[in-house]
């Protein structure tokens, strides 16, 4: 009952004039960044964080969460109409969305995507409301060792479940952590890694510089390379008859909605996973379980609904560990978490007791954003199709202007803009060689928090690492740490296990 009251208060907070205005604006921007190939929720949130300094944290998080949410809806528009996923989270939407559009049923695909997103979003937000308070209550008992163990587990998840090249994944995690150590040592106060005596390094490297570099500049370079060819937009007729036809096609997608919503939410909670693998997994499982699995890939509404349900559900799921444990569940929530630190908040379970307006304002806004995005998405389809016709040669320099100003604004130092360019170019090169970049962004955000938790724990234990592994004194920390170790060695054991059984 208390949760329900808090939720209502949260909804009332999001209906305040400024918050509601930003929520609708955020949904629109999210739909836009999601729809544009090359831009996704993570790029939108990274580039827009600097402009949220003007409003209070609650309004800022409502705005950015709406952008995140809207981008999950918007990704489907270009997947269906252009055959290019608007964001990586909408890759699976292309599989059946594009064939539907080619068959002349683009409206069915777009409606299926919007309704799927709405259902996934609603189910996940209800699950979020139910799970968040008890999880935060448990997390309130966490001290430094448990916090550090959780962070190690977040890094280990990338290694165990990320699916990328293991040395390259670990390298990405470590480089993010090294970058986070630049500046003054928090215990001894000594300067660390000040290259060439440049004073700009003394204040450390702001996570935004890396995030905007990689997801702004780097992503644009990547997209410029990918989209140099012409794209073919499908024809679309929007009228009530088509919309009615599209809704009647959704009757057979009940199973896809269930799989997408529940699987998406739980995959979204995992730090290494996020919305992209969630949507791909949902598509795969729905296809396997479907009676007409052979038709998947030729334009089935269920093939659009499953990934779209999942990516929205996962985006909400990834906010659960961010709010309750202070551990982001996706690259976008890593940036949101960094944003909270910039706004002067301490991410983690204390937010529920110290900043209830912030937490419940965000949760309440998710319900409202879900509704508004559905309405805006369907109502503005013709407008988004016009936006998709903007040549990338015009959009790209505008994004670069936003990146340069966004990189400069937080610290007002050109040094950071240079670093951002360097990270953008470096991130682009590394991504081309299959180095995953998301772990680096997660580590630069979590690095200072992990170092602080580790050093506090070691002070508590008089320097003994045993504090993280001792079941008798720290059972939660030890359990999490052993899970992390299993995740770390899993990729090494897997092939050995298969080899052994092959020989046997």
């Amino acid at each position: 009952m208390e949760t329900f009251t808090l939720l209502l208060q949260g909804m009332a907070t999001s209906f305040e004039f400024l918050n509601l205005g930003l929520l609708i604006f955020g949904c629109l921007i999210g739909l836009f960044v999601g729809a544009m190939p090359g831009l996704g929720s993570v790029n939108g949130v990274a580039i827009l964080i600097p402009i949220t300094f003007i409003v209070p944290p609650t309004a800022a998080i409502i705005f950015l969460a709406a952008v995140y949410y809207g981008a999950m809806y918007g990704g489907a528009i270009s997947s269906v109409m252009l055959g290019i996923p608007g964001a990586s989270t909408a890759v699976a939407t292309v599989f059946d969305g594009r064939p539907l559009a080619v068959k002349g049923e683009a409206m069915t695909a777009l409606t299926a995507a919007a309704v799927g997103s709405f259902v996934g979003g609603t189910v996940s937000v209800i699950l979020f409301t139910l799970f968040a308070p008890p999880l935060a209550e448990v997390a309130l008992r966490f001290n430094a060792p448990e916090t550090f163990a959780l962070m190690v587990m977040a890094f280990a998840t990338f290694v165990g479940l990320g699916g990328d090249d293991i040395p390259k994944t670990i390298f990405s995690i470590l480089i993010g952590l090294v970058l986070s150590t630049i500046g003054l040592d928090l215990i001894t106060g000594k300067p660390r890694l000040i290259f060439f005596g440049i004073p700009g390094f003394l204040h450390g490297i702001n996570f935004l510089v890396l995030a905007i570099g990689i997801y702004g500049i780097g992503e644009m370079l990547w997209t410029l390379e990918e989209t140099k060819g012409k794209v073919q937009m499908s024809k679309l007729s929007v009228n009530m008859k088509e919309i009615g036809k599209a809704f009647s096609a959704l009757k057979k997608t009940f199973m896809a909605m269930n799989i997408g919503s529940f699987l998406g939410f739980f995959v979204g909670i995992l730090p290494a996973a996020g919305a992209t693998p969630a949507s791909l997994m949902s598509y795969g499982i729905t296809k396997q379980l479907s009676r007409n699995s052979k038709e998947f890939g030729s334009g089935v509404p269920a093939g659009v609904v499953a990934p779209e349900c999942a990516n929205n559900s996962a985006s909400t799921g990834s906010m659960l560990p961010m709010l309750t444990l202070g551990i982001p569940g996706s690259p976008t929530t890593a940036i949101l978490l960094g944003g909270m630190i910039l706004w002067g908040l301490t991410p983690g379970p204390l937010l529920f007791t110290q900043q209830p307006e912030f937490v419940w304002g965000l949760i309440g806004s998710l319900y409202i954003a879900n509704f508004f995005t559905l309405v805006l998405n369907i109502a503005l389809i013709p407008a988004f199709l016009m936006v998709l016709r903007i040549p990338f040669a015009i959009l790209a320099p505008v994004i670069f202007v936003l990146c340069v100003t966004g990189g400069y604004a937080p610290t007002q130092s050109l040094h950071d803009v240079w670093l951002m360019l360097l990270f953008g170019f470096g991130g682009y090169m590394l991504r081309k060689l299959d180095y995953p970049v998301a772990p680096a962004v997660l580590s630069i955000v979590l690095g200072p928090l992990a170092e602080k938790a580790m050093r506090q724990s070691l002070i508590l234990s008089d320097g003994s690492m045993g504090i993280f592994f001792d079941f008798s004194s720290k059972p939660i920390a030890a359990t999490i740490m052993y899970i992390a170790i299993v995740l770390l060695i899993m990729p090494a054991i897997g092939p050995l296990y298969r080899k052994f059984f092959k020989k046997a």
Binding site: F171, L177, K228, A396, V404, L421, K432
Partner: protein, 204 residues
């Protein structure tokens, strides 16, 4: 065969791995300028954490290099060009123009640098008319100025062009009424379009 097509994914993989290994060594060396030891009696040295993290990076790159020579990674056997020659033009011109932009920001200031950057970029890559390019290149910095300096109160670098903005600040922070400020803003935002369209009409 141009340099671009000769630089294959295979070559890029080993080149980048070696560069990253060297960077890791440099980071270890730099970290070692602080104390990198730690024991239960004495506090952790300031260089301890970055040193061992950099050592981990070095080990990862060495494994990547070994996998390359054993041909165990996808990239080690890929002899396709690292970047398509046509795409290389897009990427390289973008990177160079961004570097020039940031250099220019330090000297000319952001607003004037943006005008040149946008004009160059649109002229080079888009097929838009000169009028469109001019209006777009002039209006974007004006909107950037209004957003950052007026709305967010965050000053962006102005370099040698700073004195030109003093009269603007006088209007923004002077005794003008809010109504007049809005009139100035609308006039400023629209002025590039009006000027360019008038110029098009009368100068042939």
């Amino acid at each position: 065969m141009s340099i671009v097509t000769k630089f294959t994914v295979r070559r890029a993989e080993i080149t980048v791995a070696v560069i990253l290994a060297l960077c890791s060594v440099a980071l270890m060396w730099k970290s070692a300028q602080n104390r990198i030891t730690w024991s239960a009696e004495e506090n952790m040295g300031a260089g301890f954490i970055p040193f061992y993290l950099s050592l981990g990076m070095f080990i990862c790159t060495v494994i990547t290099i070994i996998k390359f020579f054993l041909k165990r990674s996808l990239q080690s056997t890929n002899n396709e060009p690292f970047i398509d020659p046509e795409a290389f033009k897009f990427v390289s011109v973008t990177i160079i123009s961004l570097v020039v932009l940031v250099f220019a920001i330090g000297y000319l200031g952001i607003y004037f640098s943006l005008i040149f950057f946008l004009a160059f970029y649109l002229k080079y890559f888009s097929e838009k008319s000169n009028s469109f390019i001019l209006i777009f290149s002039l209006t974007t910095p004006i909107l950037t100025f209004l957003f950052f300096e007026w709305l967010l109160k965050i000053p962006l670098p102005q370099g040698i062009s700073e004195p030109l903005f003093y009269p603007v600040y006088d209007v923004m922070y002077g005794s003008s009424s809010l109504f007049m400020i809005w009139i100035y803003i609308i006039a400023t935002v629209l002025s590039p379009s009006v000027l360019v369209l008038l110029a098009n009409r009368f100068i042939k």
